[in-house]
């Protein structure tokens, strides 16, 4: 049963100077599950995601993705920090979608998706191109392949960014507030793509303020506060009958 677990974070701690951004945060996500992380601004949601793909180095605790310890090599009872090349290798299987899209502005939509497979996975160009076109089609943007990011709307850019993450054939995709920078009328098209992705069995950890999406799509919901996982549980339970009063207060505040 334990090999069903794709992400396991155990007591992850992260300090910025004397400020504790993550305080023994633990989380388990099973293969094919969607986990939404909610919580007030500054509670450490982004920092937690960034520890999973090593954009941030944790100060304590450990994270396993697909059974592999992230950022360290275990040798008996010693933990060795892994090399930069090893870090790059671990990141390949972990996609990330950012609030501000972060598409490469000097490349077209198609080139953005091809870049990783060709440059990092050494896939042949023709194959990468075919796959990228299929991915663009999947996010509904086949007709925008030759457009530069500056020529796309926010919602379209975010869909290209999701296709770019998928291009790496990831085990897991991390979403950091993927719809927060979008105009209200563009939010749904991105959520639809994510919902579609979830039903195809992709494992996803999604930091979001869209409680509706969490209710409909997430299997588990984690409520973070002050660097701690205040409450983690099945989506319906956490959102409808939270055990923690802090969770209840937050959900009530978001609904108003």
């Amino acid at each position: 049963m334990s090999n069903d677990i794709l992400v396991k974070a155990v007591e992850v701690t992260k300090n910025f100077g004397s400020f504790r951004a993550l305080d023994a945060a633990s989380l388990e996500v099973k293969k094919g599950e969607v986990c939404c992380i909610i919580g007030p601004s500054g509670s450490g949601k982004s920092t937690f995601l960034r520890c999973i793909n090593l954009l941030e180095r944790m100060d304590g605790g450990a994270i396993w993705v697909n059974g592999e310890l992230i950022g360290y090599r275990r040798d008996g009872d010693h933990l060795h920090e892994i090399s930069d090349a090893e870090i790059s290798r671990q990141r390949r299987r972990i996609g990330m979608v950012f609030q501000r899209f972060n598409l490469f502005p000097h490349m077209t939509a198609l080139e953005n998706i091809i870049e990783g497979p060709v440059q990092v996975l050494n896939e042949p160009m023709a194959e990468a191109r075919d796959r990228a076109m299929a991915l663009l089609d999947r996010v509904g943007l086949a007709d925008k392949a030759g457009h530069y990011p500056s020529e796309l709307s926010g919602g379209q850019q975010q869909r290209v960014a999701i296709a770019r993450a998928l291009g790496m054939r990831p085990d897991l995709i991390l979403f950091d507030e993927p719809t927060s920078a979008l105009d209200p009328e563009l939010v749904q098209e991105v959520l639809d793509v994510m919902k579609d992705l979830a039903s195809s069995g992709m494992t996803m950890i999604v930091v979001t303020h869209e409680l509706g999406f969490a209710r409909n799509v997430a299997n588990t919901v984690a409520f973070m506060e002050a660097g701690k996982m205040e409450e983690v549980g099945p989506a319906s339970q956490v959102l409808s009958m939270p055990k923690s009063t802090r969770t209840a207060e937050f959900i009530k505040a978001v609904h108003n």
């Binding site: 290798r89 996975l121 990011p149 500056s150």
Partner: protein, 288 residues
């Protein structure tokens, strides 16, 4: 009464028959006239002066001048290539986060920006005075005077000091790239070098090309310093000719002509390079 008012109003708003008189730029016309008069005076002075224009024409395509022009171009290319390679290297060391590398980078800029290019050129050229031979003892060794030809000394002197300036241009280019771009590149598993080469530098180029274009044009003219160590660039060759025939001004005009031609061609090239690296970016002009 009512009808009268509406007739008056109709006439007032009827503009089809009116003639448009464009704004007269009197100031511009006066300024242009003054400039033209001054230019005419200057042309006349040169025409009447002691300049033998037939000499200018004769030496414009003289083999020694063309050879000098060729050497000037070669030196510009060699010194600038060295400058850009060093500049990129030093800039990357500077922002690498490795304290040893970044101290070396700071020291490099400090030293080589701190001494005049002419002085550095002379130092390299006269290196034999302190190091008669260079090499790795036991492996290989050369006599310094054989290695340190005018070409090599000029390239090192100009290229290394250029590297100090160019590294600051490159650094500002790297800093201009949004941190989200670095993170996106890391997220798709790129190594540091690949990220710089594929994602960061191409975007930084947009910021770097105008100042580097400026530096290349500066370098075309800076190569004339190499004449003091007997490198046969165009000014050096022009001087050799006028030492013999005393047509000083004529030959200086010949050299000026060629410098102007080279700089013009480079400026046009810069335009196209800027357009290439600006792809995908919204034009600034369109937003002003």
């Amino acid at each position: 009464m009512v009808m009268e008012v509406s007739q008056v109003a109709d006439q007032r708003y009827e503009i089809a028959h009116l003639k448009l008189v464009p704004k007269r730029h009197v100031g511009r016309m006066v300024a242009a006239a003054v400039v033209l008069a001054l230019l005419a005076g200057l042309v006349r002075a040169f025409a009447m002066g002691q300049i033998e224009w037939n000499y200018v024409a004769e030496f414009l395509f003289a083999p020694a001048i063309l050879q000098g022009l060729y050497n000037t171009l070669i030196m510009t290319f060699a010194a600038m290539a060295l400058g850009i390679i060093l500049g990129v290297l030093i800039a990357i060391m500077r922002i690498s986060g490795n304290p040893v590398l970044s101290s070396i980078a700071v020291g490099y800029v400090w030293v080589f920006r701190g001494a005049p290019a002419l002085l550095q050129l002379l130092l390299w050229f006269n290196l034999a005075l302190i190091f008669p031979t260079i090499g790795i003892p036991g492996l290989f060794e050369f006599r310094t005077v054989d290695v340190m030809t005018p070409f090599v000394a000029a390239m090192l002197g100009l290229g290394i000091s250029q590297g100090a300036y160019t590294s600051e241009v490159v650094r500002s280019g790297l800093l201009s790239v949004d941190s989200g771009q670095y993170e996106a590149a890391r997220t798709i598993g790129m190594t540091q070098m690949k990220m710089l080469r594929r994602i960061v530098l191409p975007q930084a180029m947009r910021v770097m090309v105008p100042p580097i274009g400026n530096e290349v044009i500066g370098m075309v003219k800076l190569t004339s310093l190499a004449s003091v160590i007997q490198y046969s660039e165009i000014l050096h060759n022009a001087q050799i000719i006028y030492f013999a025939n005393t047509r000083v001004l004529e030959l200086l005009l010949v050299a000026s002509f060629w410098y102007l031609v080279v700089v013009s061609v480079l400026s046009i090239g810069q335009h196209y390079i800027e357009r290439y690296f600006g792809r995908g970016a919204k034009s600034i002009r369109a937003t002003i």
